[in-house]
C-alpha cells in the first residue's frame, strides 16, 4: 500500500487543498483522497505533487513497510 506525507508537506508549504489542486491540475477531491490514503496517484501526478511541494518524490510517497529504508 502506498503511504504519503502529503497533508504534512502541504501544510508546511501553506497550501490549501484547493491551491495545491490548482497547481497540479486536479480537483480538490483528488488531494483529499490521496491524503486519506484512499487513492494512489499516477506517477505523473506524484511527480507534479513533489514538484509543487518542492520535495523529493520519495519524501512524499513510500511503500508500506519501507519506512526505515
Amino acid at each position: 500500500m502506498l503511504k504519503n506525507r502529503l497533508k504534512e508537506l502541504r501544510a508546511r508549504n501553506d497550501f490549501t487543498q484547493i491551491e495545491l489542486a490548482k497547481r497540479v491540475g486536479v480537483t480538490r477531491q483528488t488531494i483529499g483522497f490521496i491524503e486519506k490514503g484512499e487513492f494512489s496517484p499516477s506517477v505523473t501526478l506524484s511527480l507534479k505533487l513533489a514538484h509543487a511541494l518542492d520535495c523529493d518524490i520519495n519524501e512524499l510517497f513510500w511503500l508500506e513497510g519501507d519506512e526505515g529504508k
Binding site: 480537483t27 477531491q29 483529499g32 483522497f33 496517484p41 501526478l45
Partner: protein
C-alpha cells in the same frame, strides 16, 4: 459536488425507467396483437375509463418530470460549463472524468455494474425459460434490471462523494 447533476443523474434515469415501466404495464396489459394469414398485423389498445384516467395521470406526471429534468440540466450546464450534460451523445452522462481520481471512481462503479450484469442476465434468462411470463412481464423484468444498474452505480459514486463531504 452536491450541485453536480452528474452525481444524481442515475436517479433521474431510474425515475424515467419507472415511467417507462408504467407505460409498458398500461399498454401491455390492455393491448391485443393480431396477425393475419394474408400478411400484416393489428395492434389494439383498449382502456376503460379508470385506465384512461390512470394513463392521463401518468402522462401528466411524465411531462412534469421531463420539465423538471430539463430545468435541472440547464441549471447544471450554467453552473458547470466545463462539465456540461449533453443529452445528444452516446456517452453516459453520469460518467465523471474530471481527473484521475474521478476516472478511478467511475471505473470502480462501472466494474460493480459489470459484475451485476454478469450475474443478473443469466439469472433472468433462467427465470424466463422456466416460467410462463408473457411479453409485458419480460420487458418489465429487463427494465427492473436497468433500474438496478443505475442504483448500483449511484450507490457507489454517492459513497465516495459523501465520504469527501
Amino acid at each position: 459536488m452536491k450541485k453536480d447533476m452528474r452525481v444524481s443523474y442515475p436517479l433521474w434515469q431510474m425515475i424515467s425507467i419507472i415511467f417507462l415501466m408504467a407505460f409498458v404495464f398500461l399498454i401491455g396489459f390492455s393491448s391485443e396483437f393480431k396477425t393475419f394469414k394474408d400478411g400484416g398485423f393489428e395492434f389494439i389498445v383498449e382502456w376503460n375509463n379508470i385506465e384512461k384516467f390512470v394513463v392521463s395521470i401518468v402522462l401528466l406526471l411524465f411531462i412534469l418530470f421531463l420539465a423538471l429534468f430539463n430545468w435541472n440540466v440547464v441549471k447544471h450546464n450554467r453552473s458547470m460549463p466545463m462539465h456540461k450534460i449533453n443529452l445528444f451523445t452516446l456517452k453516459p452522462q453520469e460518467y465523471m472524468e474530471d481527473d484521475e481520481l474521478f476516472q478511478e471512481l467511475t471505473k470502480r462503479a462501472t466494474k460493480k455494474v459489470y459484475s451485476y450484469y454478469t450475474l443478473a442476465i443469466p439469472i433472468l434468462a433462467g427465470i424466463y425459460v422456466a416460467s410462463p411470463f408473457g411479453r409485458t412481464e419480460m420487458i418489465i423484468g429487463f427494465l427492473l434490471l436497468a433500474v438496478g444498474q443505475y442504483f448500483i452505480y449511484y450507490k457507489n459514486i454517492k459513497k465516495y462523494i459523501t465520504e469527501d463531504e
